[in-house]
C-alpha cells in the first residue's frame, strides 16, 4: 500500500508542471461539483448562515476574488505603463487574470443570492444610493472596459506592434487603473457605511480593503507569471522581472496592511471605552482564534519571510501562494466578527432557532461550493488563455 503510494508520488513528480496542476485542480473540482449540485437542489437550506449573520464564507470569497481582480489589474497595468519587463509583453494576460477573478467573485455572490435568477434586476432597476448596486455597475463598466482594452490591444497585435501605445489605449488603461483602485476601496465602503455594525462603521475599512486587494492581486500576478514560465521556472532566477517588481509591491502591501490593522486594533483595545473592543477580542480569542493567529498572522509572516529572502523562484511562488490564500482571512475577519455581536442585548435568546444565532460556522456545502468557485476560476483562466492563443494566431494569420 505504502509502496504503491510512493510510486504514485514518484510518477506525480515526473509529470510536467501543467499536468501536476491539472491533477491538483481535480482535487478542487470533484468535491466542488458535488457541492454545486447540492446547492442547486436544496437551495440555501444547507448553508450555515442565518438571519443574524446573513453573510458567510461565500461573501468572503467574493470580496477576496474582487480584490484580486482590482489589485491584479492595477499592479499589472501600472507595470505595463511603466514598462516593467514581463508585464509589458503580457498586457492581455493581466486583463485575463483580472476579468477571470472578477467573474469568479461574481459567481460566488451570485450563488449567495436568495433568488439568483433575479440578479439582472440590479441592472434593470438600479438604486445608485446603495453601495451594492453602485459596485455592481462598476463591475459591469470595468468588464466592458477590459473588453475594450482587449480589443484595442488586439488591433496592435503582432510582434512588432507590441509596444505601440498610440491612440486611446493608454488613456483608457489609466481610467481602468482608477476604477480598479476605486472598487476594492468601495468594497470597504460597502461595509463602512453600515452603522448597525459598529465594527464596520469605520473610515479605515476602505483603506484596509484596498491594501489587501493590491497585496493579493500582486501575489496572484506573481503566481501567474510563474505559471507562464512553465517548466523553465527552475532555470529562471528570482531577479528576473517582473518578479522583483511584484515582490516589492507584495512586501509593501503586507507592511501597510498590518500597519493599518495595528492602528485599528490598538486604538480599540487602548481606548477605555470602545464599541468594537468586544469584536476584536472575539477575533483574537474567540472561537475562530486560529483564523487570526495562524492563518492571518502566521500566513503573512511565512509569506513575508519567503518573499523577503527570495532565494529562488520556487520559494517566491510559494510565498505568493501563501499570501494569496491566507489573505482571505482579512475578509473573513472583517465580515463574520462584525456581524457576530448583537446590538440589542437579549436578542439571541428572544427566539431560538439555528438561523437566529450570532455564531456562524460554515457548513460542508459552503466549503464545497467555495471549492467549486475556486476551481471554476482556475479553469476559466486556463481556457481563456488557450482560447486567446488560438484567436491571436488566427487573427495574425489573416492580417499578415
Amino acid at each position: 500500500m505504502i509502496e504503491k503510494l510512493g510510486s504514485l508520488i514518484e510518477r506525480f513528480k515526473k509529470e510536467t508542471l501543467i499536468n501536476k496542476l491539472k491533477m491538483l485542480w481535480l482535487l478542487f473540482f470533484i468535491p466542488g461539483l458535488t457541492g454545486i449540485i447540492i446547492r442547486a437542489v436544496s437551495g440555501e437550506r444547507l448553508a450555515g448562515y442565518g438571519s443574524y449573520v446573513p453573510w458567510g464564507l461565500w461573501i468572503a470569497v467574493y470580496f477576496h476574488a474582487v480584490g484580486i481582480s482590482g489589485g491584479a489589474f492595477a499592479v499589472g497595468v501600472i507595470g505595463y505603463l511603466r514598462g516593467v519587463r514581463g508585464l509589458k509583453e503580457n498586457l492581455r494576460t493581466t486583463l485575463i487574470v483580472s476579468a477571470v477573478s472578477l467573474m469568479t467573485g461574481l459567481l460566488a455572490i451570485w450563488l449567495d443570492l436568495g433568488r439568483p435568477f433575479r440578479a439582472y434586476k440590479i441592472l434593470v432597476s438600479p438604486n445608485f444610493g446603495s453601495m451594492l448596486d453602485f459596485n455592481a455597475w462598476m463591475y459591469g463598466i470595468f468588464l466592458a472596459l477590459v473588453g475594450l482594452v482587449f480589443y484595442l490591444s488586439l488591433n496592435k497585435s503582432g510582434e512588432e506592434k507590441t509596444n505601440d501605445r498610440s491612440g486611446w489605449l493608454v488613456p483608457i488603461l489609466s481610467l481602468g487603473v482608477f476604477l480598479s483602485i476605486a472598487y476594492p476601496s468601495q468594497s470597504g465602503a460597502f461595509f463602512g457605511v453600515v452603522d448597525a455594525k459598529p465594527f464596520w462603521s469605520s473610515a479605515i475599512l476602505p483603506v484596509l480593503f484596498l491594501t489587501s486587494a493590491v497585496t493579493s492581486g500582486a501575489s496572484a500576478m506573481l503566481l501567474v507569471h510563474y505559471y507562464l514560465l512553465g517548466d523553465s521556472a527552475n532555470s529562471a532566477g528570482p531577479d528576473e522581472e517582473p518578479f522583483p517588481y511584484l515582490r516589492k509591491i507584495i512586501l509593501a502591501g503586507i507592511v501597510v496592511y498590518f500597519l493599518g490593522e495595528f492602528s485599528e486594533y490598538s486604538l480599540a483595545l487602548w481606548s477605555p471605552i470602545s464599541h468594537i473592543k468586544e469584536t476584536i477580542l472575539l477575533i483574537m480569542f474567540g472561537r475562530f482564534w486560529w483564523v487570526f493567529w495562524i492563518i492571518h498572522i502566521g500566513g503573512a509572516l511565512a509569506g513575508f519571510y519567503l518573499l523577503f529572502r527570495s532565494r529562488s523562484l520556487n520559494r517566491l511562488a510559494a510565498g505568493a501562494l501563501i499570501i494569496v490564500t491566507s489573505f482571505i482571512s482579512t475578509r473573513l475577519n472583517i465580515l463574520i466578527p462584525g456581524q457576530s455581536i448583537p446590538e440589542i442585548r437579549g436578542l439571541n435568546e428572544a427566539f431560538t432557532h439555528p438561523r437566529l444565532s450570532f455564531s456562524y460556522t460554515p457548513t460542508a456545502v459552503e466549503y464545497l461550493v467555495a471549492l467549486f468557485v475556486i476551481s471554476f476560476g482556475l479553469a476559466l483562466f486556463h481556457f481563456s488563455r488557450r482560447l486567446l492563443a488560438t484567436f491571436i494566431e488566427k487573427n495574425n494569420g489573416r492580417r499578415q
Binding site: 481606548s271 477605555p272 471605552i273 470602545s274 464599541h275
Partner: protein
C-alpha cells in the same frame, strides 16, 4: 510653602483630619502631604527638586503609597438615584454645590438641563440634574498621563489629585458626560474684592484650600466628589448629622437620592428595585453609578 498657610486658618478641623488621615492612610490627602513635604525639602525651587536625591526617594515611596491606597478593599459603592418626575428645575442643587465646594465662576460640578418633550410643548419639561456619574469604568482616569485622577477603591468615588494634575485637560475630552471642569482662575467679584467670603477655604478633599492666584486648584481639572469631605473616617456619610452631599441635602423636591448601592436596604437600592430607571449613554459601557428614575 503656601499649603502650610492654608492649613493654619481653619486650625481645629484641619489639624484633626490631617492627623487622622496620616494615621489611617486614606484619601488623596497623603499624597498631597508628601508632595508638599517634598517641595519643602527640595529647597523651594523646581530644578533642585528634580535633581535632588531625596526627591527620587520620596517619589518612589509616594508611588508605592498611592498603590497601597488603591489596594484597599472595596467597601461602598456610592451612587445617586435622581427622580426626574420629582425634579422641578429649581437649581438649588447647583447653588448648594457652589456654596459647599466654593467653586469659582465657570466651574459647576452639577448642572440642571431641561429637555422639552416632543409632542407636549405645554407640559413640564424633563429636568435632569447631572453630577459626575462616578462610572464603574471611568474613561477619564485611563487617559490621564500622570495618574492624577483615579477611582478610589474603597468607595468608588473618582477623584483628582490637585497636586499631581498638570492641567492637560485630556480627561475632559475623554468624559462622555462633560462632568469635568477646568479652573481657569476666574473669580466671582466677592473674591476679587476680598470680601470675608474670600477667606473661607473650600473643604474639598478635606484639604481646605484658600483660593489664591495660580495655586491649585487653579489650572487644574475639577469635578464632583460626592462631597467626600463629609465622610467620617470609615468613609460613611450620615444624613441626620448633615454629612450628606450638598445637592441631595438641599433638593427642594426630594428628587436626589444618595446612598450605598451595595447596601440592599439603602434608599437608593430600594428605589432601583421598585422603580424604572435608565442611565445616560449606557451603550458606551461606562456603567454610571447615577440612575434616573422615569
Amino acid at each position: 510653602m503656601t499649603k502650610k498657610k492654608t492649613k493654619t486658618t481653619p486650625t481645629q478641623r484641619d489639624g484633626d483630619t490631617s492627623a487622622k488621615d496620616a494615621g489611617k492612610n486614606i484619601s488623596v490627602l497623603d499624597r498631597k502631604d508628601f508632595i508638599s513635604k517634598l517641595f519643602k525639602t527640595g529647597a523651594g525651587t523646581l530644578a533642585t527638586t528634580i535633581v535632588g536625591n531625596g526627591m527620587l526617594k520620596s517619589v518612589s515611596s509616594l508611588y508605592a503609597q498611592s498603590k497601597d491606597n488603591r489596594a484597599v478593599k472595596r467597601k461602598f459603592r456610592y451612587g445617586m438615584v435622581i427622580d426626574t418626575r420629582r425634579c422641578v428645575g429649581c437649581r438649588s442643587c447647583v447653588l448648594a454645590c457652589k456654596a459647599e465646594n466654593k467653586t469659582p465662576s465657570g466651574v459647576s460640578y452639577t448642572v440642571v438641563f431641561e429637555e422639552i418633550l416632543e409632542n407636549r410643548p405645554n407640559d413640564k419639561p424633563v429636568f435632569m440634574t447631572k453630577p459626575c456619574f462616578h462610572c464603574e469604568h471611568p474613561p477619564c482616569t485611563d487617559v490621564c498621563p500622570v495618574s492624577a485622577t483615579f477611582k478610589r477603591e474603597r468607595d468608588g468615588i473618582v477623584v483628582v489629585d490637585y497636586e499631581r494634575c498638570i492641567g492637560c485637560r485630556y480627561c475632559m475630552t475623554a468624559c462622555p458626560y462633560s462632568a469635568r471642569w477646568f479652573d481657569f482662575g476666574e473669580n466671582y467679584p466677592a473674591i476679587e474684592q476680598n470680601t470675608p467670603w474670600a477667606q473661607v477655604p473650600s473643604p474639598e478633599y478635606k484639604q481646605f484650600r484658600k483660593r489664591k492666584n495660580k495655586q491649585s486648584p487653579v489650572g487644574n481639572v475639577r469635578k464632583c466628589t460626592f462631597c467626600l469631605h463629609l465622610q467620617d473616617e470609615e468613609g460613611k456619610y450620615n444624613k441626620e448629622e448633615g454629612r450628606w452631599p450638598a445637592c441631595a441635602k438641599t433638593c427642594t423636591g426630594k428628587a436626589i437620592h444618595f446612598g450605598d448601592l451595595n447596601d440592599p436596604n439603602s434608599e437608593v437600592t430600594v428605589l432601583l428595585r421598585e422603580r424604572q430607571y435608565m442611565r445616560l449613554k449606557e451603550e458606551l459601557g461606562t456603567s454610571p453609578n447615577c440612575y434616573y428614575l422615569i
